[in-house]
Symmetry: C2
Subunit: 335 residues, 2 copies
DNA sequence: TTGTAAGCGTTATCAG
DNA sequence: CTGATAACGCTTACAA
């Protein structure tokens, strides 16, 4: 049924070793005539090595497992894209699992990934649904890279969430805002925690009150609700004049909320998000945001893995620079 | 180093066969005492079966390959999510590759997937970068499901693109529009082709001119440019009063373009998209769109695969219903 | 340059 | 109920 290396060997009148050396692209010397003949047979029979067998024999899968919280979130989609892109060009394949932010899913997905003996594991997001210890993976030689979450057990790729928060807050403070609110993502999220910490720090430094906060679960809908809460519940004259949301999706939800409340953005409420999702440049007013170079984060993660496979064993913590992208929603430019 | 079935067998003083029967969750009878002892050893040693070996021996990988054009597109992200979700609960893992709409990438990704002997292959999108014949996969028993593209060789899951187009166009015609333009996605895309055909059909039926069209490559930026082209180049009095974009991302770009041209949506130009991306409900005016139930498409695809593994061999073409979601951007409701 | 054969880690058949 | 052992399809010493 399925063509195996043995079929090719027989058809070409050579040994399986020879076929293997040719089919696997090894640089082991093979006679020109033989090679030609074998190659002809390979393509005639449409032979394709069975990767499970190859992996088993080489005891190395060229598989990188990606564990992401939620593909509906464009940020993770982008990072995954970066990983997949780099992986593909490096000859790796991506085994993708989503945790859906649920502990059970995270555990079973991780287990499955480990059984596959993924050569590397990239864990996305700062959620607390996935926990992994060095011990669990060290036996398999699995390289682990954490994206967007600190760790001293594993190498990480991150953006400096705290300074991002500070930068964003400073921007608003510089614009004269004194009542700045914050829309958090989900409980236990590293990104939210760091960004909020940065915002707080800056406000404190500027002698301003702590930001009012509401939680929006990283979705447009959550951002919408959080913004309404922030905007409507405030005592008269206490309404925030600026809202920083922990991601763009929530910021866009907040923009809709402001709109629905008859508030103009940025005049009545200034807004900003994080991630620089493609859409943020195209909402109106265009959203001021903090660019994370998300695809690049993924690419860096993959690069980190490649470096380590090369034998660089140090636990590196790379932080890729992000930058504030000023657009109209913050009021720094004419809407 | 790595714990194998043999290590467990030795430590437990049983044969590998026994360990296998226990570790693989087979229902082969095993003595209670033995089972207990072996299970203890398994967890003490943190034994995890090597999936490559299992696959090789069982000659069945529980792997489903997903080939998508572009993860930056939320629609594909959603469908993938649907697939992954269903896959995970059915005990399958998702091997994810992106074609980036490039022929070369599609081919090598496909090759890699075939080498992995994926049990199933889900091909997303109607792009022409990936071509696959029954012959290539039949030997491996790979189940193939096409999502969003017609075929008589493989089962498909689709939405009826043409009636979606018709429905959308009728909606605008019913609203009194006579100059309706269309923003296409990429060349060779099935979704674009069908939707445009539907739009044309309806316009023709209503005695209206063919829609002016421009291409936007399915991105916000492309949609923005296409809309400017459509809106600015039209002779005075010829400007389209409605634009239908082949997806939401382009529609949102178009909305920005209208805005930047000082045109009000929907009063000066009415707008609509396709996909019902989460964000479309949160732009203002909220975007009228055609909901494809994208995650459900993915779930259906996975279901189709499961059915076929069960022995249902008919080539089924399931079409999942979509529906127009009327929001403010089309002018049918107050903005 | 080519071939032989011993793994790689499981599963499953066949005997006990 | 338990255990040997022959696959599964490939790679890689080691020999020739």
């Amino acid at each position: 049924m399925v063509v195996t290396i043995r079929d090719v060997a027989e058809a070409a009148g050579v040994s399986v070793a020879t076929v293997s050396r040719i089919a696997s692209g090894s640089d082991y010397p093979v006679g020109a005539r033989t090679r030609e003949r074998v190659e002809a047979v390979i393509s005639a029979l449409d032979y394709r090595p069975n990767q499970s067998a190859t992996d088993l024999s080489r005891r190395d899968t060229h598989l990188v497992g990606v564990l992401a919280p939620d593909m509906a979130n464009q940020y993770y989609a982008e990072v995954t894209r970066g990983i997949e892109d780099a992986a593909q060009t490096a000859g790796y394949q991506v085994l993708f699992s989503s945790t859906d932010r649920r502990k059970g899913r995270a555990e079973s997905a991780l287990e499955a990934l480990l059984r596959r003996r993924v050569a590397a594991l990239v864990i996305l997001g700062g959620g607390d649904e996935v926990s992994l210890t060095r011990k669990q993976v060290t036996a398999y030689g699995t390289e682990v890279v954490l994206v967007g979450r600190p760790s001293d057990e594993f190498p990480t790729i991150q953006t400096d969430g705290e300074s991002a928060g500070q930068e964003m807050a400073s921007h608003f403070v510089g614009l004269g805002h004194e009542r700045i609110a914050f829309i958090a993502g989900s409980r236990g999220s590293t990104a939210t925690r760091l960004r909020l910490a940065g915002v707080r720090k800056t406000l404190r430094g500027a002698g301003l009150a702590n930001p009012a906060t509401a939680r929006g679960g990283y979705t447009e809908e959550g951002g919408y609700r959080a913004a309404r809460e922030l905007l409507e519940q405030a005592a008269p004259g206490e309404r925030p004049t600026a809202i920083i949301a922990a991601n763009d999706r929530m910021a866009i939800g907040a923009m809709a909320a402001a709109n629905d409340l008859g508030l103009r953005v940025p005049d009545d409420v200034a807004l900003a998000g994080f991630d620089d999702t493609p859409i943020s440049a195209y909402v109106r007013p265009a959203l001021t945001t903090f660019s994370l170079h998300s695809a690049q984060l993924g690419a860096e993660a993959m690069q980190q893995i490649l470096d380590r496979e090369e034998g660089d064993t140090a636990i590196r913590h790379r932080t890729v620079e992000g930058e504030i992208v000023v657009r109209a929603s913050c009021g720094a430019r004419p809407a």
